[in-house]
Structure formats: C-alpha cells, structure tokens
C-alpha cells in the first residue's frame, strides 16, 4: 500500500506541527506550508493525494486557492479545516469545490478518518484492506477475517460489510445500501435488507467479532468499533 501524501496549508505553525505529527502517526506523509503562494509552489513540485486547507491565510482567503485549484480542473480532494462555523460557511465552502469541511477544534482520529474517506472516493486510490476492530475485509479477494480466522459469507453479506466498513463509525443510509445490494434485482421485498443485516450480525457474533452493527431506526445502519477504542465521531459544529 503506497503512502498517502497530503499537503497541509495552515498558517499557525504550532497547530500545523501538531496536525502533521498526528497524521504522520496515522501513516500519512504530510508536507506543510503556511501561505497560498507556498501551496502553489509545493503543488508544482509534488503531486498530492489530498489538500488540507485552512481558510484564513496571511496572503489571502483559502476559498480563493480552492477556486484556483478547481479552475484548472484539478480533482485532488480538498478538505477544508476552518475556525469558521457559520450558518452559511459550510455551504459556501462546499460550493467553492471543497470535498469536506471540518470545523476546528477536531481530533486527529476524526481528521484521519475524514482524509481516508475522501481518498476512498471514486477517482481516488482505493485501499484493498478494510479493517475495524478485529474484522478485516479484503475488497479484492472478497474474504473476511475475524481475529486470525477466515470465515465464509455469501456475496451479499460481504457487500454489506464492505459498505459498513468503508463508513465505519458512521451511519450508512438504508436507501444507499438497498440501491447497491439490489441493483440488479427486479424486486426487493421491504424486509430484504433487514434480513441480510440480521444474518451478517449473527455471523459476526458467532465468530466473536468485536464490532457491532447497530440499527438507526428510520435512517440506516452503522458499524461500530469496540468501545474501548472508539472511532472518533465528535464532529463539532459540522
């Protein structure tokens, strides 16, 4: 697995240092610059898998850099890190071409999870091994390993697990799961998805998986890591 290379554009050196150290600890390679000019120079030299962009920069507004990048048809994912959490800031940030928006302060696991999620998007490099707790899924081999034991599962349950693992710690909408699981089927009974979830739950449980599949009534399902090592989901003021 190649190391993901990020460019961090943040003018506060102390905060930048902490973010860089934190992300390096999570397995990312991080370059840092403190100005828009510096960011443009760095992008000419290197190509990055992701830009982490602070909006208030000494030589201009980060949104301007965002528009410049998008104007030259550069599809590099951009995650905006900002102290602005206004009612319309998120929308204007996303409108300007940001892929995600994270309001300060945040925690490194949350930031790392968002970065990975962005890089898993179509068009970005896909990881082949998905893991949460003691559950691992090889997306190419379609094989599930729990702890050290490989287990067998029907394709539909593997697909479901993949979707949940990709958004581990987050709720995946029922509609999205139904669409991808039954894309080919002419008819879907209302409880078909529930049945698959229930079978997957039993299978994970009997294999002593430490993750849980929770139902969020009226919305969808979420795969949760064991409580001892929670996936940070404290999205403040998102």
């Amino acid at each position: 697995m190649s190391i993901m290379r990020l460019l961090l554009i943040e003018d506060n050196p102390r905060l930048a240092g902490l973010i860089r150290d934190g992300l390096q600890g999570q397995g990312f390679a991080v370059d840092w610059c403190g100005t828009i000019a510096g960011a443009e120079a760095a992008q000419k030299v290197n190509s990055y898998d992701l830009l982490l962009l602070d909006l208030g920069l000494p030589d201009g507004d980060g949104l301007e850099l965002l528009r410049t990048v998008r104007r030259r048809k550069d599809a590099t994912p951009i995650l905006v890190l900002t102290a602005r959490g206004g009612l319309d800031d998120r929308v204007s940030g996303l409108d300007a071409g940001a892929d995600d928006y994270l309001v300060k302060p945040f925690q490194i696991p949350e930031l790392a999870a968002r970065c990975r999620a962005l890089m898993r998007r179509p068009g970005a490099a896909l990881g082949t091994i998905l893991a949460c707790g003691n559950v691992m899924l090889d997306t190419v081999e379609r094989s599930i390993t729990i702890g050290a034991t490989a287990i067998e599962a029907p394709p539909r349950e593997v697909d479901l697990l993949e979707h949940l693992l990709r958004r581990a710690g987050h709720v995946v909408a029922k509609a999205a799961l139904e669409n991808s699981l039954y894309a080919m089927d002419a008819e879907v009974t209302p409880n078909a998805l529930e049945a698959v979830v229930s079978r997957l739950r039993k299978r994970l449980g009997s294999a002593h998986a430490d993750v849980t599949v929770r139902t969020v009534h009226g919305v969808g399902y979420a795969l949760l890591a064991p409580l001892a090592a929670p996936v940070a989901t404290q999205a403040e003021n998102a």
Partner: protein, 430 residues
C-alpha cells in the same frame, strides 16, 4: 401590552389649566373695567336700578304692597296714567338726588303689557352700595360672563382638537418605539413632516437608534470574532492533549477542553443565529435534515450507550434555512442526550406537515422551568457543567427567524417532547 399611562399631567390638561387661569384673569379685568365704568357714571347706575326695580314690582298686583330690598327706605310705588286722552304716553325718566348716606332715586318706567300700556312710578332712598348689588350683578353677567364663557368653551374645544392633532405624530412614534425589536436593529421611526418639534425629536431618536445599532452590531461581531479566534488555540490545546500519556489527568483535561469547545461553539452559534435572515425561497425537507442529524449524532450517542430513532410522518417541506433547521434539531437532540437517562431512546421526527419534534424519555420539563427554558445562560441546575444554557436560546432564535413556534409537551408515558412548528409549508410542486 406595555405600560401606556405615563406620569405627569397630559399636555391637554396643562393647556386647559392655563387657559382657565387666563380666562379668570381676563374676567377679573373685565369686572374691574365694569366697576370703574359705573363708578364714573353713577347716573346710569341709578337708571339701571330703577328699571330693575320696576320689573320686579310690576309682577305684583298692587305695587303698594311691594317689599323694599335691603338698604332701601321710603319705598313707594304706584301705577300712573297720563291725564289727557288715551293716546298719550309718559316718558321714562330718572332722577337722582344726594341725601344723607346715599341717594334718593325716583322716576317712571313704561311697562310693556301689550295692548294696555301702563306706567309705574317709583321712588326710594338707596342707602349704601347694597341696593345696587343686583344691578352690578346683572351688568357683570351681561358684560363679563356672557362673552367669556362661550369663548372659554371654544378655546377648550380648540385645545382638545389641536392637542390631539399635534400629538398624533408623537403617538405614532410611541407605537413604533414599542414595536422596536432588538433582533432587527435596522428599524427606524417614521419621520413626521410636521410639527417641526416632533420631527426633530423623532430625528434625534433615529440618530440614537443608529448609534445603538452600531454598538449592538459591534458587540455581536465581537462575540463572533472572539469565539472564532478561540477555536485555533482550542484546536492546538486539544491536539496537544492527545499527545499526553493516557491517565486520569489527560481524560479530565480532555473533558474540560471538550466543554470549552462546546461553549465556544454555542457562543458562535448564538451570534450567528442572531444575525440569521431566512430566505424564504429556499425549500428545506425537514425529513432529510432530520435524517442527516440522526446520521451525524447516532454513532456518538451509541458510543455513549444511547439510541437515536428517526421517523418521517410526511409532508414536511418548508421554506427555510437548511443549516438553521439542522442546528434546531441538533441542539434539541443534544439537550435530550444530556438530560434523559441512559438506555432510553430519543425519538426524532419530521411531519406530519411543516413541523419537527424531538422526544426523550427523561424526567420531563417542570412547569415552573418552562418560562425560563429559552432564556440565555439559564440552567435548571446551575452546578451542571454541561453546556452554557445557550442551546435553547439558539433554538428559540432560529425558530423565531423562521417565524415558527416551539412548544414543550408532556407526552403519554412521560419525558419531554419539543415540537417546532413552521408557518411556511413549501408550495408543493405537483
């Protein structure tokens, strides 16, 4: 309704009182003039007195029996006829002679009895001023009271009309001042074209409003800027804390930092909520926003051992601001997470129609607490370290900006149910 009755006398009363004093002074002056006039012409006073006495005596069948007034002596009265033929007439005459202590007055007055003319001869001694008093009284009524009373009445009427008319712009300004809203500092009073005095007062009021607006906006901006500036150091603090070795000190500090983060976020949210203007052309699906809120908060609440449920009752499209609706939901859910006990579900719903609701199975809201619930910085338990008591203030402000209402209900089975109703159901396109 604000207190309408001010203190101090009304302008109408002040003017009326002054008019009355003015009229009295005028009347007094008039009296003096009348008295001086008669003092200079005692002749005409005698004439008037004789005429008055003649009219008094004439109604008695036999004038001989007439009782003289106080201060009159040697009173005699009798009818007289001309000595010649029937067509003759007698001329009115008056004679006044000075006697000891007064005047002797005598004379004839014609009595107009229609077809039968009669003449009365009178003679009496008027001692002192007393007999003249009725004359003077009559003269005062005729020359002072008769002209002045209607004049005073007219002035009073004029006073009522003109005061009411002059003060109409002031009354309108008063209504407008009562209608001023701290949320909308751009409101100004309507400038009356006249009177100039009211115009200048209203103008001064508007200048004061402009200064107030500037300072309120400065304060609001300051809150927003301060909260905003605090976020970067908070981020640094949180990330530094993560690098500490695990232990009770680290987790305590992290709790404190989380609390502070929440406070700063709420202050910023509130400042933004105060400045929110809802563009009514944007359609928001309450169900979609409710799902997004549950999607975002469910993992966090699962970690805390809590459960969030969502149900869609349909028809919940409104004209509004999606991010604001998101924050209404989120603050209500945050409150439920904070106050309802563990293991009880929190039910989030949208519809039916333009409304949303969040219901918990906690202890409910005491009736005594309900009026304070939406006050900023109010908490029912001041020692509670959870939040700053701004959550409901934010909700209230965001709901107000939509022109909606929020009600607290106690559903069957206990707990609290917060229902937000929006006035603007979106026009359904087909």
């Amino acid at each position: 309704m604000p207190e309408r009755s001010g203190t101090g006398p009304s302008l109408f009363r002040q003017i009326a009182r002054r008019l009355l004093v003015f009229t009295l002074i005028f009347a007094l002056l008039d009296v003096v003039i009348v008295l001086v006039t008669y003092a200079r012409q005692p002749e005409s006073l005698a004439q008037e007195l004789l005429g008055l006495e003649a009219r008094r005596v004439a109604v008695i069948d036999d004038p001989i029996n007439a009782v003289p007034l106080t201060g009159m002596r040697n009173f005699s009265a009798r009818f007289v006829q001309p000595d010649v033929d029937d067509d003759a007439v007698l001329i009115d005459w008056t004679r006044r002679e000075q006697i000891e202590g007064g005047y002797r007055i005598s004379g004839v007055r014609a009595l107009d009895d229609g077809d039968d003319p009669r003449w009365l001869f009178l003679r009496f001694d008027a001692i002192g001023i007393r007999p003249f008093l009725p004359v003077i009284r009559n003269e005062l009524i005729e020359h002072v009271a008769l002209p002045l009373v209607p004049l005073a009445g007219l002035l009073l009427l004029f006073n009522i009309v003109s005061v009411r008319r002059t003060l109409a712009p002031l009354r309108r300004a008063e209504t407008e001042v009562d209608g001023l809203d701290p949320q909308d500092m751009s409101l100004r009073l309507t400038m009356p074209s006249q009177p100039r005095e009211v115009n200048t007062l209203v103008r001064a009021g508007n200048r004061a409003l402009a200064r107030l607006e500037a300072s309120v906006l400065t304060l609001r901006d300051f809150t927003a800027n301060a909260a905003h500036e605090l976020r970067t150091p908070l981020a640094i603090m949180q990330l530094s804390l993560e690098r500490l070795p695990d232990g009770p000190i680290k987790s305590d500090l992290q709790t404190d930092a989380d609390h502070m983060t929440r406070l700063v976020g709420q202050m910023l949210d509130l400042a933004q909520a105060d400045a929110l203007v809802v563009d009514e052309s944007v359609v928001v699906d309450l169900a979609a926003v409710g799902r997004a809120v549950v999607t975002q908060l469910a993992p966090k609440s699962f970690v805390a051992g809590r459960e969030l449920r969502f149900s869609d009752h349909g028809g919940s499209m409104i004209d509004g601001h999606a991010e604001a609706v998101f924050r209404i939901y989120r603050n209500l859910v945050d409150n439920a997470l904070a106050h309802a006990p563990g293991a009880t579900p929190i039910e989030v719903s949208a519809g039916p129609g333009p409304q949303l609701a969040v219901r918990d199975h906690g202890p409910g809201i005491l009736a005594a607490d309900q009026p304070h619930l939406f006050e900023r910085f109010w908490r029912n338990n001041r020692s509670s370290a959870d939040g700053a008591g701004l959550g409901f203030g934010i909700v209230k402000r965001l709901v107000d900006a939509h022109g909606g209402t929020i009600v607290i209900e106690t559903p069957e089975g206990g707990g609290a149910l917060f229902r937000v109703e929006f006035p603007n159901a979106a026009a359904t396109a087909g």
